[in-house]
Structures are given as C-alpha cells and as structure tokens.
C-alpha cells in the first residue's frame, strides 16, 4: 500500500484498520529506514496530498528523531547521523520546501522537525547553511513563509543551546525576530510567530542585552507588543516580559516605570490570560529579589552576584492596591476545582510573595483592606479580606503581626464555625494554618497561642474537620502546624489532654466517604504524622495504640478484591499513606527505649504487611514501604536478619527499578541500613546485591542522582563484611577508579554540576573508606596495596582542583588516614613522599571546620604510626 493511504488509515476510526497500518508503518521503518524517511518527508512536502496524511507524516518523522528518555534520544540522534548524506540532504530539502506551503499544519509540522534536526546536527557542526537559509526566507514577501520561518527559528532556539550558534548568527536571528514583532509588521500571524520566537530566543540574547541601544530596542518592541489589538500577541508579549524578568533582572531598572503602567492596565482591564501573565511578571520579580536577599543574608556565600534593585519595595504603594483589587474577582467554585487558576488566586499568590520580599512594610498597606472588607455582607469581600491577611503571614516579623493576629484570631475562629460561605471558611481555615505556621512555636517571643485559647482553637478545628471536604482539608492543614509549634515544649504541650480526641478526629476524617475529594485523606494522614512526630512521653500509650489500628487498615486494604482500575488506584494511594504513617510511628516509637520495647511485638506482622504491599506494583507505595523498612531495620537491630529471606526478593526488585529511580535510590539506602544492623549476616545476599549495584552503575537508563549513593553503599557493604569483600574488588575497584577519574576532571559548568560532582566524590571516597576499614587487621589487607597509588592520585587531584566542599574534604582526609591505618608502612611512606598529600593534610589540620580537623588529626596519627610501626 502506498504511504498516503497507510498514514490516513492510521488515523481511521476503525481500530483494525488503524492497527494494521501502524504495523505496516513499523515494518517499513524496520526494513528500510532511509526509504521510510524519504517517503515521509516527500509526503509532508507534497502539496497534492491530504493535510491529514502530511501532518502525520511529519509527526512520525519527528518521532524517528526524538524521544523523551535521554538515552533513547541519543540513540536516535546517532542513528540519524549515521545515515547516508544524500538521504539526509533530501529529507532536509523537503522540510525546508514545506515551509513555503500554503497549508498551515504542514508548515508548522515541518518547523518542528527542522528544529529537532538542528538540535542533532548543529552541535556536530553539520548543516551550517541552515540558519542562513532560514534568514533569507524572512526577506520573502509572502507572510505565510515569514510566519513559518519565524516559528522555525523559535523552535530552533528551544532545541539548540546558545553556545552552538555564533554571535553573528545570533544577531541576525534576533534582528529578524524583533523586526517581525514590530508594530510596523502588518500581518498578525507573522507578529505572533515572531513574539513567540523571541520568548525562546531570549536565552541567546546575553550580549544584546548588555548593549544599551539593542536592549532599549528589544524592550520597546516587547512593550509595544503588549498593546497589540490581538489578544494572543499581547499574551505572548507578556510571556516575554516574564522571561526577561528572570533572565535579565539586573537590566530592568530603566524600564520598570513603563512596565508597571503596562501591567497595571492589563491586570485591571485585559482578558484573563493576559492579566495572569501581567501578575506573573511581578511574582517573578519577587522570586528574583527573594533569592538575592536570601543570598545577602545567608551564612557563607557572602554576596549575591546580582545586586538587589528593590523594585518591589519601590513599586509597593501602587502594586499592593492593584493586587488587592484582584482578590475580589474570585470564581464561585474555585476551591472545589483542583485545576483552577484565576486572577484572584494569582493576585493573592503574588501578594504573598510581595510580603516575603518586603516584610513589615506591607502591613499598613493591607490592613485597611482587611478591616474594611472582613465584615461585609458580600462573601467576596469577606473572603478577599481573609485571603489578603493569610497571604502576608510569611515575611513580616511576628512581633509586628502579633497584635493584629491576636485581634483577628477570635474573629477567624467564629467565621470558621459560622460563616455561611464555604469559600470564606476554606480561606479562614487556611489563614489559621498560616498563622500557626509562621507565628506559633516555642521560640516565638510573642506567642499568639496561649494555654487559654488553645482549647478553643482545637475545638473549632476538630469541628471544622467535619465540614465539606475542602474546608476540612484546610482544617487538617492548620492542625499540622498547630502540632508542629509544640514539638519542642515536651510535657508542657497543651495538646496533651486532647491528644486522644485529636487522633480520633483525624482517623474519623480518613474514613469519611468523601475523603477522596480535595486531597482530604492525604491531609488527614499528614496531620496525623505531624501530631505523632510532636507527641510527648505522656501520650506514648496512645501513639502505640495507633500501630495495630493502622496495620489493620493496611491489611484490609490489601485484602480488597475485584477492584476496578480506578478503585485499585485509590487503594494504592491509601496504602502509600498508611506506609508513610507507619514509618513515622516506627521512628517515633523506636527513638525511646521504653516505647521501642513495646513496639517490637508488632515488627513481625508489620514486615509481613510491607512485603505484601510490594506485590502491588505502584512506585509511590513501593517507595513508602521501602522507607518504612529502612526505619524498621534500624529499630529491629541485629534481629532484622530473620526478615532477610522474605525481604530480599523485593529489595532486588527495588534495586532494578530504573524507571522510578527514587525507589531505586531508597532501596540503595536501605541496603546501607541493613548492612549496619545485621553486619556480616548480610554476606549470603551480597552476591546478588553487588551484581545489581554494579549493573545499576553501568546503566545509562538509571538517573544519575542514584549513582553517588551506590558508591557509598559499596563502602557500607565492605564495612559490614570485611575481608569477604575480596571477591568484589576486581569489579568494584575499576568502577571506582574510572568514576574517580571522571569526577576529578569534571567540567564544572554550573553550580548544579559542581554539587553533583561533589556528591559523586563523596560517594567514591566513602566507598574507599569502607573498603579500607573493612580490610583493617585482616591478613588480606595487602590485596589493597596495588590500589593505593591510584587512591592517592585521586586525593591529590581533588586537592589540586580546589573545588571540594567540606563534606568531600572531611571524607578525603579520612581516606588518607585509612590508607595508612590499613596498609601500614608502605602506604605511610607513599603519603609522606607526596608533597600534595602533605599540603592537603596541613590544610585540613588548620581547617576551621571541626569535623575536617578531627578527621585530619586522626589521619595524621594514623600516618605517623604507620611509618614508625
């Protein structure tokens, strides 16, 4: 069958036909990839063909070049690059030709495919003429070609990183894009495409934004575009402003007055999608300033690279009234709708960010609004007043807020009970939660919650937990922070007399028929967790009683039969919550000798339940159960060995879970836990564990964040099994060596990479430390001697790179000592002879960080002793 028909059938309503043609397409691709690609690109380029087949041809073509998972993406890129040049140029020619098609869908699809190809080829320095060809299109007169070309440039900027394109071409792209945005451009489609393209191209414009004239021009054009009669252009232009606010914050000062006027007008008058972007501009400025001010105040990083311009502080008198107005534009049922996002929500969120940015200064601007509206008959006014108040709880100093909160508290408690509007009650309960979160705790100088009003607060919250789900959810959230505030007052906690009632009320919520709505069940369990974490010795018996209750619920959930997929999902969610709560109980009860003893009677059954949980294949639940088992191992101590036989198969599954890498990471952590508690009793399982860990390390499917903990885990295993680690040395050591090699010469492009590299180094060093200590005093210790020069070399290169963090430094100097401690004179002499090692040791000995100094002291003694003894 010819390709057109296949592509049309693939979209048929007849499932059999669809399936058959999909199979044929796949067969075609497998048997003759070049022919397949040529057919698809030919189809896309052919104006005689139906639009549906052309569109699908383009999409299938795109999927042969790109995938979500990074490793698959790399494979596909390699496959494309290895194709015959003539095939590649024919495909590219078809794509470029399609940009001139009169059919919008065909042009648009071609744009996306070209961008994907650019993402593959430009970094390899292939297809050098592409950008030139696109730019020459811009000068064509036909608007549809211009539009398609600008769209392509936009996608291209999204796919390609700025380093790949030289500045000359960047300048040309930006010139074309900004010209296309200009008010003089008569065609709205072109102007819209250009505005959207600029959004992606902003990352390329570093140099241009540093040039005053060019920046002025870009900013003028963007601001003008926000006034376009076409709503989509206005929206896209505001999106550009939002992106500029975070990328070029430090360049904005000259434009802030104009931007304020533009955004204020949009917030007040424009359609919602535009108004939301206008508010987002200010939220984004807040994000920037909060980060900068955080850097100013933080302990070690000294100053921020970028100075704070205090835009928010300056705009405050006008900005706050504008935001307060938006609060009155609520939608009727927004609290029942999980996906809702409207101007009132955005405005309140922005107000909260403004409060965090400026602190106390916001209070006098918000109080008149709050006082003027809180008792009005229109629910909108009462809700807006409450929401404004709740929004400013974080930021201002508690002392400044305390007197206001003291007055408001009684009012809020009454409103939560009596207000006729659910919306008002929802926001009131949330505001109470905010008050407890930021104004309550043992370190507050001016406590707003006293022994006297605490009982009333509790009564209201527990009552409110019976209200409609969205209100009850917020009440649970408020209880969470109420409990948290008492976490370190011990026996003085006023919650103690009501503890039983609180627990009972929360359990009742979890059993409500409608607990699935508004995230109510989750909120109730989370509060239960926090109430348990903050509980005191006095209430330990009640906490202990929770164990069998929750275990029974987990048991019942696991017994549930014949579920629809929807019901199964709900049960899984419940099981996750129950495992989470049990984990909190294990930690709480395990942390005191007296309760630990009583708790131990449940461990057998509990372990049994966790193993059954693994049987249902749900990543979240799996992770929660694994976390709980880690805690259980710690509490059980050496006795944990009796569970190993049953647990091991699931541990293995966890270690192989590449897809849900967090489950894999948790499982790796649990291996460490188990090693520490059962020590050499882990030996029978080590062959399997080591095999999986080594596989994990060599896989490029596994998320990189799991790799450092795997190295640390080698250390845990070696420390537990000692010289029995011998047989894994030939596998583990080369892996450690090559990872060490990589991590000592990593190109540290950014902070994130530096952090990862340091995690990797820590992992490697912890592995060396564990292995060296594991072999100490063993006749087999000398097996490690051949590796000593490499380890020393690694330490030297770390020392020379000068970019270790404290954690790495401490572990590194410890390993220096471990080498001498385990290997004796030979290693001791190697170290003594190394100038770099001695420098490093001296540096650590005079470190201000006590942990580093401690490790260094130890290392120095170990070395001295190795040489002398």
């Amino acid at each position: 069958m010819e390709i057109t028909q296949l592509l049309l059938n693939a979209q048929s309503i007849d499932a059999t036909a669809r399936k058959r043609s999909e199979e044929s397409l796949k067969q075609f691709q497998d048997q003759n990839l070049p022919g397949f690609l040529l057919s698809l690109s030919g189809e896309l380029a052919n104006d005689e063909k139906p639009v549906d087949s052309r569109k699908l041809a383009g999409l299938v073509l795109k999927n042969t070049l790109d995938a979500k998972e990074q490793h698959r993406k790399n494979e596909l890129a390699q496959r494309w690059l290895s194709l015959d040049d003539s095939v590649k140029s024919q495909v590219k020619a078809c794509l470029l030709q399609t940009l001139s098609s009169l059919v919008l869908d065909a042009r648009s699809t071609a744009s996306q495919v070209i961008a994907k190809l650019a993402g593959i080829e430009l970094p390899q320095k292939h297809w050098p003429e592409l950008i030139g060809v696109l730019l020459s299109n811009i000068h064509q007169l036909q608007p549809h070609v211009k539009q398609a070309t600008l769209e392509t440039l936009g996608y291209l900027c999204e796919e390609v990183s700025p380093e790949v394109v030289d500045q000359d071409q960047v300048n040309k792209i930006l010139t074309a894009v900004v010209q296309g945005m200009n008010a003089s451009e008569g065609n709205n489609d072109v102007r819209l495409a250009a505005t959207r393209a600029l959004y992606n191209a902003l990352g390329f414009a570093q140099a241009n934004f540093s040039n005053n004239m060019e920046r002025d021009y870009i900013m003028r054009v963007v601001c003008e575009a926000t006034l376009s009669p076409e709503v989509k252009i206005r929206q896209a232009a505001f999106e550009c402003l939002v992106a500029i606010s975070s990328t070029y914050y430090d360049k904005l000062a000259p434009y802030m007055q104009d931007i304020f006027n533009i955004t204020a007008k949009a917030v007040r008058e424009d359609e919602e999608p535009v108004a939301l972007q206008a508010i987002e501009f200010w939220s984004s400025i807040c994000d920037e300033e909060i980060d900068i001010l955080d850097d100013y105040g933080s302990d070690f990083t000294a100053d921020s690279d970028i100075p704070c311009f205090y835009f928010i502080k300056q705009a405050l008198p006008a900005l706050v009234p504008m935001l307060l107005e938006t609060l009155l534009k609520q939608e009727e049922d927004q609290d029942q709708d999980e996906g809702a996002w409207n101007i009132a929500m955005a405005g309140g969120t922005c107000l909260g960010l403004v409060a965090r940015t400026v602190g106390d200064d916001i209070i006098p601007l918000v109080m008149p609004f709050m006082e003027g509206n809180i008792s009005k008959s229109d629910w909108r006014q009462r809700e807006a007043a409450t929401y404004a108040f709740g929004s400013i709880m974080e930021g201002p100093s508690p002392e400044k807020l305390a007197s206001i909160v003291n007055v408001a508290l009684t009012f809020m408690l009454t409103a939560l009970m009596k207000d006729p509007s659910n919306h008002v009650k929802d926001t009131t309960a949330w505001t109470l939660g905010r008050i407890f979160e930021f104004m309550h705790g043992s370190t507050m100088e001016t406590p707003v919650i006293t022994r006297e009003n605490c009982q009333q607060i509790l009564t209201v919250l527990l009552q409110s937990m019976k209200d409609v789900p969205n209100v009850a959810e917020k009440a649970c959230g408020a209880l969470y922070f109420l409990a948290q505030g008492y976490e370190d007052v011990g026996s003085a906690s006023p919650l103690i007399p009501f503890f039983q009632d609180i627990i009972q009320a929360l359990l009742t919520v979890t059993h409500r028929e409608d607990a699935g709505e508004s995230r109510l069940r989750t909120a109730a369990y989370e509060s239960l967790n926090e109430v348990v974490r903050c509980s005191t010795e006095e209430t330990a018996p009640t906490v202990l009683q929770l164990v069998p209750v929750l275990m029974t619920e987990l048991h019942q959930s696991l017994e549930a039969q014949k579920l629809t997929s929807d019901e199964r999902e709900k049960q899984n969610e419940l099981q996750g919550l129950l495992c989470g709560c049990l984990q909190v109980l294990i930690q709480k009860l395990g942390s005191a000798e007296s309760t630990k003893y009583m708790f131990m009677q449940y461990t057998d059954q509990m372990m049994d339940l966790f193993l059954r949980v693994f049987a249902c294949r749900n990543a979240t639940v799996h992770g929660e159960a694994m976390l709980a088992i880690g805690s259980l191992a710690y509490v059980s101590g050496p006795n944990f060995v009796k569970y190993m036989q049953g647990f091991y198969p699931y541990l293995e599954l966890g270690l192989q879970n590449f897809e849900d890498y967090q489950v894999c990471a948790i499982s790796v952590g649990v291996v460490g836990d188990v090693c520490r508690v059962i020590e050499d009793k882990i030996l029978p399982f080590c062959d399997g564990i080591m095999t999986h860990l080594l596989k994990d390390l060599s896989s490029n499917l596994l998320h990189r964040s799991v790799k450092p903990p795997i190295f640390s885990c080698f250390g845990d295993i070696a420390l537990a099994i000692g010289e029995n680690f011998e047989k894994y040395l030939i596998y583990a050591m080369p892996m450690l060596q090559s990872a060490a090699e990589l991590s000592s010469h990593a190109a540290l492009a950014d902070d994130e990479m530096l952090e990862y590299t340091n995690q990797l180094r820590s992992g490697i060093l912890e592995a060396y430390a564990g292995i060296l200590q594991g072999f100490k005093n063993s006749p087999k210790a000398q097996l490690l001697t051949p590796y000593a020069p490499h380890i020393l070399h690694f330490l030297d290169s770390l020392h020379n790179e000068k970019d270790m963090d404290d954690m790495v430094m401490k572990t590194a100097v410890g390993v220096l000592g471990d080498l001498a401690d385990t290997l004796g004179a030979s290693a001791g002499l190697l170290i003594k002879q190394s100038v770099s090692s001695n420098d490093f040791l001296e540096e650590c000995l005079s470190s201000d960080d006590l942990l580093i100094k401690e490790s260094a002291d130890w290392a120095k003694k170990a070395i001295t002793r190795a040489i002398s003894g």
């Binding site: 959004y199 917020k474 007052v489």
Partner: protein, 430 residues
C-alpha cells in the same frame, strides 16, 4: 513551544510530608554511615589514645598569659571573619536549635559540661585551678540566635524563650544581625533575682570557644558580656539580666574569698575549673563541684518529696542483663537486678531507677566505692535525663560519713605550695 509554568502552588505547604519523610531518612542514613565509619576507625586502632592536649593548650595559654595585647587584638579582629565560617560543631548548634521535640531535648541534654564531684583534692589545685561560688538555681544552656534567646535545662527542655541584648538575641532594628551570629552561654538561672549568672562561655558571636582553655573563656566572658549590654537591667527587648560571677585563682586567698565572700546570689557550693581544660560536653574531672553546709543549703541529696532521707539514695540506669549503671562515660556498673524483679516491676532498659543504699554494706577499697546492698524504691522522676555519676554517689556517701572539709582544701593549698617551691619545673631557654 514550552512556556513558563503560570500556575503556582495555591494554599499548599511548600514541601510535601512525603518529601519530608524522604529527607529525614536520608539524613538519618548519612549520620549513621558517618557514625559507623568513625567507630571502625576507633575500633581496632590504637591511634586514638587520649589526645595530647599539650600543644593546643600551650599555644592558647601563651597567648593570654603573656598578656600579649597585639595577639588579643588580632583575635578580636579575626572575630568577624571567624564568625563567617563557624566550626562544624557550632553549626550543629544552629541546626540543633531547629531539632524538634524529644530529639531537640536529647541533643541539648548532652551539650553541657558536667563537673564531677570532688571526692579527693586534685594535685596542683593551688596552681592550675580557678574557684568560684556556684549560684543556687537551674543550670542551663542559653542560645541566642535569629533574633531570639532560648534557655534549656540540663535535661534539654526549654526554660525560657525571650528577647535579650545578647548578640542576635532579640529582633530589634539596631541589633539585627546576620543569622550566623549567635551565642551559647553556660548559665545558672537564679530565681530570687531572676538573673542568668553566666558561668562559662561556649560560643560568642559565632566564634567557637569549645576548644579554648578555661582561662581564655573566662577572660573572653568577662570582657565581652559587659560590652553587649546583657548585664543591664531588664527592658522591653531584654527580659532577663545576665551577670558574671567573681572568679578567683585557686590559692588560699582566692579560695577563702569564694567561700566566705559576699555575692548578690545564694551560694550552692564551690566550682573548681582547671585553667587548661577545654569545654568538654558530659562529665569531666577537669571541673569539680564541692559543697558543705556553710556554702550550700543542698549538701545532702533530697528524695522525691524534697526531704533529706535517713539513708542515702541513688539514681541508676537500668542496662541490659539487669545491670545498674552510673551516668559516667564509660558507665560504671554498681549493681545488678535479678530477672524476677525485672519482670515483676516491668522495668525496661534505659529506665532511671531510685534505690536506697544500705550504709553498712558499703565498702571503700583502694579508694574505690563499692555499693553492697541497694534497695529499689521507685522509678525516678521523668524530668530527669541522667543517672547519678560515680563521683556524686561517692561524694554523697562521704558527706554522710567523713566529708571532705574546707580545712582539707586549705591544707591542700598549703601542701601544693610546698610542692611547688620544691619542684624543679624550669623551662630551658637554651
């Protein structure tokens, strides 16, 4: 095209409880890994014998004893810089102040330096020691940070949260300081005049004094506390007054002054600090407490009703196998409970139990106290965090039979002096 995510979290906490659980688990694992590695390094390795304090102590005392003004000024100048990179242990304090509930209590209950009871006079008492009268009251750890001040009792529970003039101890405009500025003081809260008497300084403006000699700490304490305004009368931003206590060189004059001198507070015995000792957490023989009826109302321990019982009582911790141990590190086993009793009473490992000591069964052999017959009374008050230390039990026993008297201390001073004059401790200058 990928667009900026417009929707922001709405009425939701910033971190989910699940994320919190994960982070807790990671922290716990990292801590345990580091613990077991440290254990491995210490075990089976003879390197970690007692550290030789000579080198650091000498350096430190040279600095202050010589009265080298430049050095002190240099110290002062580096104060700010040091504050930016506090040591890991101090960081722990900042982190610990965020610890929650019982974990916080447990952490703080381990941070005080606890003097042993003086059961015999240490050599060189007249040369290497300081003495001062201990104010009667609640021993506590006072931490000022992030604009507030918190005091915690010996068992780790919070006594007061209040604003103070200590650096970063209150949230006022003129005093606002970066978050790394904080102080840790070892104090006694004296109820009658509502004053915190500072008996030691552990950290000042982020500058750690853990590894400094007592000599230097007391010097710093006396010069810095006054400057801060913490000794001023209470005000809105300074709820409690702080005060220093007069500290004397432990010679005959100093000892007599501490013993009989007039102080604004009620005395509860004398404290002796070795001038070369660092601030060590837990029990230490380098700080000693001594009492008699003249300088303390509380020489003999009271029972749970506040009465002095006819027979000596002790608090011991139940350990595995029914062993009863003291709070020393390493603990000393002073008795054992039998299995039947354990089952009947439902006592569990870690419980603190109160016993009566049968006088006639006590033996002192080779200077060591052995409790013979002890009788169980009850479980100890829950507020207690520790069992008695060996030195306390010994001191209490001695106080009931043949107490170490003030005259003995004075006499020791005399003999110390003799010893000193006869000693040939000459520094070779080459």
């Amino acid at each position: 095209m990928r667009l900026h995510e417009l929707r922001r979290p709405f009425k939701r906490p910033a971190i989910s409880d699940q994320q919190r659980r994960r982070e807790f688990a990671l922290l716990r694992q990292a801590q345990q890994r580091s613990d077991s590695q440290n254990l491995a390094r210490r075990l089976a390795s003879s390197v970690l014998d007692l550290p030789n304090p000579a080198s650091t102590v000498d350096a430190q005392s040279d600095l202050t004893e010589s009265g080298d003004l430049d050095a002190v000024l240099a110290m002062e100048a580096t104060e700010e810089r040091e504050a930016i990179s506090p040591t890991a242990r101090d960081l722990d304090v900042v982190q610990a102040s965020k610890l929650k509930g019982s974990e916080g209590r447990r952490w703080f209950s381990r941070q005080l330096m606890l003097p042993e009871w003086m059961i015999d006079v240490p050599p060189n008492l007249g040369r290497d020691w300081y003495v001062f009268a201990r104010p009667a009251g609640k021993r506590c750890f006072v931490v000022s940070s992030s604009g507030s001040t918190v005091s915690r009792l010996r068992n780790g529970s919070v006594l007061h949260c209040f604003p103070s003039s200590l650096p970063n101890g209150a949230r006022t405009k003129e005093m606002s300081a970066p978050s790394h500025v904080y102080c840790i003081l070892d104090c006694i809260f004296h109820e009658p005049d509502q004053t915190y008497y500072v008996i030691d300084m552990v950290c000042w403006r982020g500058y750690s004094l853990y590894d400094c000699t007592a000599e230097f700490r007391f010097f710093w304490l006396n010069s810095k506390l006054l400057e801060s305004g913490a000794c001023n009368s209470p005000s809105a931003y300074h709820r409690y007054r702080f005060s220093v206590v007069p500290i004397y060189d432990c010679n005959q004059i100093g000892l007599r002054s501490a013993y009989t001198g007039v102080v604004p507070y009620i005395k509860d015995g004398l404290l002796f600090y070795n001038r070369h000792a660092h601030y060590e957490t837990g029990n230490t023989p380098l700080a000693l407490v001594w009492k008699d009826e003249f300088c303390s109302q509380y020489v003999l321990d009271t029972d749970s009703k506040g009465q002095v019982p006819a027979e000596q009582q002790v608090i011991l911790e139940l350990h595995d196998g029914g062993k009863l141990i003291t709070s020393d590190d390493p603990p000393i086993v002073v008795g054992c409970l039998d299995r039947d009793f354990l089952q009947q009473s439902g006592s569990q490992i870690g419980y603190l139990l109160r016993f009566t000591v049968k006088d006639e069964s006590v033996r002192i052999a080779d200077g060591k106290l052995q409790l013979g017959d002890i009788k169980f009374i009850s479980r100890a008050n829950r507020a207690r965090a520790f069992a008695d230390s060996y030195s306390k039990i010994f001191f209490q026993y001695a106080a009931r039979h043949s107490p170490l008297q003030f005259q003995d201390l004075i006499a020791a001073m005399q003999s110390n002096f003799d010893e000193k004059s006869g000693a040939t401790d000459v520094e070779m200058a080459g």
